[in-house]
Amino acid sequence: MKRLLGTLSLLTLFLAACAASSQVLPSETEAAASPAVRTLTVMTHDSFSASEAVIAAFEQANQVNLVFLKSGDAGAALNKAILSKDAPLADVFYGVDNTFLSRALAAGVFEAYNAPLLADVPIEFKLDPQNRALPVDFGDVCLNYDKAWFDGKKMPGPASLDDLLKPEYRGLLVVENPATSSPGLAFLLATIQKYGDPGYLEYWRALKANDVVVVDGWETAYYTNFSASSGRGPQPLVVSYATSPAAEFIFAPSPLADAPTASMLQGCFRQVEFVGILKGSPNRALAEKFIDFMLSRAFQEDMPLQMFVYPVNPQAALPADFARFARLAPNPASLPVDEISANREKWLAAWTEVVLH
């Protein structure tokens, strides 16, 4: 009997804990704020960041409490949004890029919103004519090179994708696996744009013959393999972003006169990131206000130093250090979103076969 009682009390305790956890915590936040304060949940990827002051200003102006739900990298976050579309976890989703856009639109996770500020946004970024996904920021995935390394060898950095096949660049390049990394995929798409399908496979065969190093993701490529990062790796060429040199300058432990890295502005791929209102959001009006806020100058001018991306709002001014070292490619690759979506798996499988096997 004692044993039974013990078990039962344990069970009750446990269930009570479950019940408590699902009820007490949200109501705590409700109690803390005045009853007029509502909550707006924003689902996003792990790289999302913003300034406290900018977010606080929006919260105060709209009597809202913003909750950010970071849900993994761009692919994982979108997959979670799609998976939970019948009972959405959030009101707004930010961070789907042009390589995943078709997937998001086909899954029907977004509601259209014709934000007034879209009028100012250049047409090249508005990839969804129905405005279910609204552009927020963009940036180019480009090769970065270690300036000191090439200076030391009295050798110029590569100027084009073709240069990478030359014997003097043998074994100098590290790229990310496009199947597991978003900059890796962007670089693969840049080669597909330049050499066509199936020409890109020929290019990668040659790149493999020239000892290209492939790693799983950006963190490994940049911090383990790239020679200009603190990891001091063996390769002076890495696939990263054209804004990375600005981050290297800004996050240097001791003040630098110049950025230690630079981008090669040929063979780049332009990534555009979008925001959308999740279908079924009970806070539609607030969600619209948040999107207006994301497109406004306050947020757009905050983005460059928080996420190292360019604002789509042409009126937003760039911070000085960012403007000095970040770059945009003059003619970046940008394949149609439908073409990317239709061929993505085929291209990845073919690439894997050629480069990894």
């Binding site: 446990f14 960041s49 998976l83 981050a247 240097a252 432990p253």
Partner: protein
């Protein structure tokens, strides 16, 4: 069913089988859409998964066994420190371990730099990263502690008179080991091997970060299909295969365990110092191996976190980096005014709170369950392997299952119409609960192995002499089990602190943990970010090292 098993079964039912079932049911429906290319790759992936897991566990056992003996039977200098050292890798995020191995054995690591300058080479002689060797070494580095603890505990409780008797009857030390010691250690050895094998079998981060894209295990393939290709049917099929494999191993394990000999009287004994010169030499060399294998990579991290390397750009192989504490001081400054800035103390507090809750939950649920399983009826025998399944479940799949299951109130009629605001997923408690599902099989398994060594007549004798069930438990079970309980608790603690598995898919930004903070720094370029990531990793290492050291000290103090 024994009632003691009920809480654990219910818990795993709600927090493991329910979410897993939901995601599998959803994903397997359109299974017919799978293409043939996937199936052709599947054979390769399966073969490699088995191969690397078998090789890694064999190496781990071979490496861990002498160390288990060392810690169980021999007294030597620095013992508590070294014992703690072996547990640290278990809770470090893979990114951090990869960074440590890189600082040591990478192309610009200490070894290569030293060899290059000593032998006048222009290329690094050791190619470690991106090889099968790196995968195996990392698996041993991570998991040897399981063997050291599980087998070491059993060894420490082994009656030395059995071996002495065999020796006096003329057996050589080798045949004593093979014919007396090893058979007696078999339950613990089997349990340890199984746990190690399951961890290697479902390995993800090590394969990706140290093996590189050339290697793929089932878990890597699941993450690829589920998160990048958004191909849920394929991911579900792979998860199912992985689960079935796990189930098979668990059944095999339970079978072989039940065929083992009757429990023996445990005789805890004081470890002795090495006496002869040979013994001293052996102990000294084992301690050296231990230091080399654990201390070198683990020291590489704190060392990097206080060296400034940026100062000598352009002449990178030059020696003598400047020492600096600025990565640490910078941790306390929200330089960019980000809303996601994480003060180190907050991250540490959250990590420790999650870990504490995980220990409490998993011991509370695991102890009664292990007791029920130690003297199983028919139903318990059937349930036993099922309780191990969380160890073999794909973390990615489980995480997605959580999303589907707990994004609305568990009992909808209690809170009608509140929807989003009241979802269970929004509660920070979901994190320690997810950690508990992973830690529970561990706790149950290691306690079960210890319980099997208690002869039932101890309890019977105590009961006959008039002890209440509580007194029996306190005087018999607790006295013998305290060691195993502390080990089990330490495991649960490290599982939670290292946040592997499903938890990484459930991170709550309002309650950031140390691993979250490390990842946040590593996601942007810049020397300051890398330095701060290493500083944060060093803090994680120090805190967990201290916590484990304390737990183990408590154990020693309570024992005698």
């Amino acid at each position: 069913m024994k009632l003691r098993l009920l809480p654990a079964v219910l818990f795993l039912g709600i927090f493991f089988f329910l979410p897993l079932g939901r995601i599998l049911a959803l994903s397997l429906a359109p299974l017919s859409q799978l293409d043939a290319a996937l199936f052709s790759r599947l054979a390769d992936v399966l073969r490699f998964t088995f191969f690397q897991a078998a090789a890694s566990s064999l190496l781990t056992v071979l490496f861990g066994l002498p160390l288990a003996f060392l810690f169980a039977r021999v007294d030597f200098p620095l013992k508590p420190f070294l014992r703690t050292l072996t547990a640290i890798p278990f809770m470090l995020p893979t990114v951090v371990v990869a960074a440590a191995f890189n600082a040591l054995l990478g192309p610009r690591g200490w070894f290569n730099l030293a060899l290059m300058s000593a032998l006048g080479l222009s290329q690094p002689p050791i190619i470690f990263l991106g090889t099968l060797g790196a995968i195996l070494a990392a698996h041993v580095f991570y998991n040897a502690t399981i063997v050291i603890r599980l087998v070491g505990n059993a060894w420490a409780n082994l009656d030395p008179r059995l071996g002495q008797a065999a020796r006096s009857l003329g057996a050589s030390p080798a045949s004593v080991f093979w014919q007396v010691t090893l058979p007696l250690l078999r339950p613990a050895l089997l349990a340890a091997t199984l746990l190690v094998f399951l961890f290697d079998f479902t390995s993800y981060g090590v394969i990706l970060l140290l093996g590189g894209p050339k290697f793929s295990t089932i878990e890597v393939e699941i993450a690829l299909q589920a998160l990048q290709m958004l191909n849920l049917p394929a991911a579900a099929l792979l998860s199912l295969i992985q689960l079935l494999c796990t189930l098979t191993f668990s059944v095999l394990y339970t079978r072989s365990l039940s065929r083992l000999a009757a429990p023996l009287k445990p005789v805890p004994q004081t470890p002795r110092r090495a006496q002869t010169r040979l013994e001293r030499l052996l102990v000294a060399s084992l301690v050296c191996v231990l230091l080399m294998f654990y201390a070198l990579p683990l020291l590489a991290l704190p060392l990097r976190s206080i060296s400034r390397l940026e100062a000598q750009r352009g002449q990178r192989t030059a020696s003598g980096p400047a020492l600096t504490l600025e990565y640490y001081t910078e941790l306390f400054i929200n330089r960019r005014g980000s809303i996601f800035y994480i003060p180190p103390a907050t991250a540490a507090r959250n990590s420790l709170a999650y870990a504490g809750l995980t220990v409490a939950c998993s011991l509370l649920l695991g102890f009664p369950a292990a007791q029920a399983l130690a003297r199983p009826g028919r139903l318990e025998k059937w349930l036993d392997p099922l309780l191990l399944l969380p160890l073999g479940a794909s973390a990615v799949t489980l995480g997605l299952g959580y999303l589907l299951t707990f994004n609305r109130p568990l009992v909808p009629f209690l809170v009608p119409g509140r929807g989003l605001a009241l979802s269970f997923l929004a509660s920070p408690l979901i994190v320690p609960l997810a950690h508990t599902t992973i830690a529970l099989p561990f706790v149950i398994r290691s306690l079960q192995a210890a319980l099997a060594t208690i002869p039932p007549r101890y309890r019977e004798a105590a009961a006959v002499l008039g002890a209440s069930p509580w007194q029996v438990w306190w005087q018999v079970d607790w006295k013998i089990l305290s060691r195993a309980l502390v080990s089990a608790g330490a495991f649960a603690f490290t599982v939670s602190l290292g946040e592997f598995g499903a938890a990484s898919l459930l991170a709550r930004p309002e309650y950031p943990t140390l691993p979250t903070a490390i990842f946040r720094f590593l996601s942007q370029p810049g020397g300051m970010n890398y330095g701060q990531a290493l500083a944060m990793a060093t803090i994680l290492m120090t805190i967990t090292g201290l916590a484990i050291g304390l737990i183990e000290k408590e154990r020693v103090a309570g024992e005698f």
